[in-house]
Amino acid sequence: MTTFITRNQSYRELLDEKLKYGYIHKHIQQPLIDEAKWGLLQFLVEQDRSLTPMQRERYLITTMLVQIALDTHDLVPIKKVAETEQETLSKQLQVLSGDYYSGLYYFLLSEVGEIEFIQTLANAIREINELKMALYYKDSPTLHEWIDLTKKINSMLIVHVTQFLYDDTANELITDWLIIQRLELEKEYNNSVIGETTINNYKKNVSNLVQTLSNQTAFITHYIQDQQNDNVNISTRI
């Protein structure tokens, strides 16, 4: 009998295979996988007993491809003209690899006739880009405003997938838990100025939500509770 972890490994191999594109990764770094989202997504698709193994696999892989496509496009430098040939090539491949992953998500879902899920992910991408524009044009946002928008951008894709799979969604819990993971990651890698107090406030909110959410979302609250307790490593580079 396969476990969550062994299935996770085989899904991961599949994702790696889809991401592999020799020329691109000779010149730019392989994309980062958001481990918190990856783990939560696997959990969400595996909890839905009505899904076939193929659906679980495709939903997980394609949602991550979309997340990676969006994240890759965020890496395109703001400055209009690159200064070196390497900078130029790297920018060009960041644009094109993001487009390639987007095409791939559509292709993998079309192959198995998952038209409704294609639409779900497209809805999420549209909304995420609206929010990214709102954040980009926000003049001197307060920390609260910045986190509020970042929280939504960070979780929008997973929230849409959760809504697609389940009627009762636990949006706030998912959003807050994912922002904790994101802020801790920022702190670890970028010496982010976001302090412990902010993170702890979200943690308190998550704890409260875990206590109050309905039975229908109990499996999500249990998963998040377990993750909080285990303090799992949320970032690894593939």
Binding site: L70, I78, V95, I125
Partner: protein, 323 residues
């Protein structure tokens, strides 16, 4: 005769498509809305929607249904263009400032992603798996084509086959898919739909070859960018491949592109003049004409109609395009 006149009878339907396109990009964020609208109004021949409509007219034409496909194809084309301008660091497209030059790279990326998402939202209203399998495969191939274009830049060792494979992905597949999607949604049978796919593919190949020729034979004013710009960017097109068979041209080309420092305007002018003195342009037109002839043959077995006649006229028009 100008291209829009050839499909003049579609005017009303094309206005309806234009309006649907406008409606489809009404983003909530004002800058996203403005950037998308400016991109839409920057012109373009809307050739993909025209192919969708004409192909569909060979079957059961239902504008409300086919409009979704036409809008999707144009949105995908727009999304590609806005990202292309980030890649090329282009200031102008069709003589107008690009999204990246007005708003910066970040907004151009968000706009492209937004428009592509809108395209997929539109097309997923059509619950036919064949539509999605064809379109998604095309999207992946187009992306691979774009990556290959970067990979093959300044690669003087590439051959005719490399070039043809690249333009197939870059241009021909999306036009071929436009025709076949129109056919599928119009209810044509598989055989007819495949014939229209072939027509679109051959037309796309011919169109791109002529575009590549015009890069050397048109003026900067006609092109809206410097003549020889493709070569300057390192894109080795059919006229260059043929001209490289001439030793003098090949030597000049290597001298200009392997020396230190930027390629000057005068050096580009000299190379263009040398290229024109070879038989490269003439031979490139021969290849383009061969594809056009195949496009016309692909239509042979389709029933006679105004739409078929228009597809034939478009092929003829493309073959005669000289600016």
């Amino acid at each position: 005769m100008k291209l829009p006149k050839i499909y003049g009878f579609l005017k009303k339907d094309m206005e309806s498509i234009e309006s649907a396109l406008q409606d489809s990009i009404q983003a909530n964020h004002p800058v996203l809305r403005d950037a998308s609208t400016e991109l839409l109004h920057a012109g373009g021949k809307r050739i993909r929607p025209v192919f969708v409509l004409l192909s569909s007219q060979l079957g059961n034409y239902d504008l409300s249904k086919i409009s979704k496909v036409a809008v999707t194809l144009e949105l995908i084309h727009m999304a590609t263009l806005v990202h292309d301008d980030v890649i090329d660091e282009a200031e102008l497209r069709r003589g107008k400032p690009t999204t990246a030059s007005i708003y910066g790279n970040r907004v151009a990326m968000y706009t492209g992603d937004y428009i592509l998402a809108r395209a997929l939202e539109e097309i997923t209203d059509i619950p036919d798996s064949r539509v999605h399998q064809l379109l998604s495969k095309t999207l992946v191939e187009v992306s691979i084509g774009e990556i290959e274009q970067i990979e093959y830049k300044f690669n003087w060792e590439q051959n005719l086959r490399d070039y043809l494979r690249r333009i197939k992905r870059k241009t021909a597949l999306l036009i071929a898919s436009s025709c076949k999607l129109g056919a599928i949604v119009g209810g044509l049978n598989d055989y007819q739909a495949n014939k229209l796919y072939q027509y679109g593919y051959y037309i796309g190949m011919s169109y791109q070859i002529i575009d590549d020729i015009l890069d050397f034979t048109s003026t900067s004013k006609e092109l809206g960018k410097p003549a020889g710009n493709d070569l300057l960017q390192g894109n080795i097109t059919l006229p260059v491949l043929y001209a490289m068979e001439d030793k003098t041209f090949k030597q000049s080309l290597f001298d200009v592109f392997t020396k230190d420092g930027h390629v000057t305007t005068n050096e580009m002018k000299m190379l263009i003049q040398q290229l024109k003195r070879t038989d490269a342009i003439k031979r490139s037109y021969v290849v383009s004409d061969m594809y056009l002839s195949k496009a016309l043959t692909a239509l042979d077995e389709l029933p006679s109609s105004r739409a078929k006649k228009t597809l034939q006229d478009i092929a003829t028009y493309i073959g005669k395009r000289r600016s």
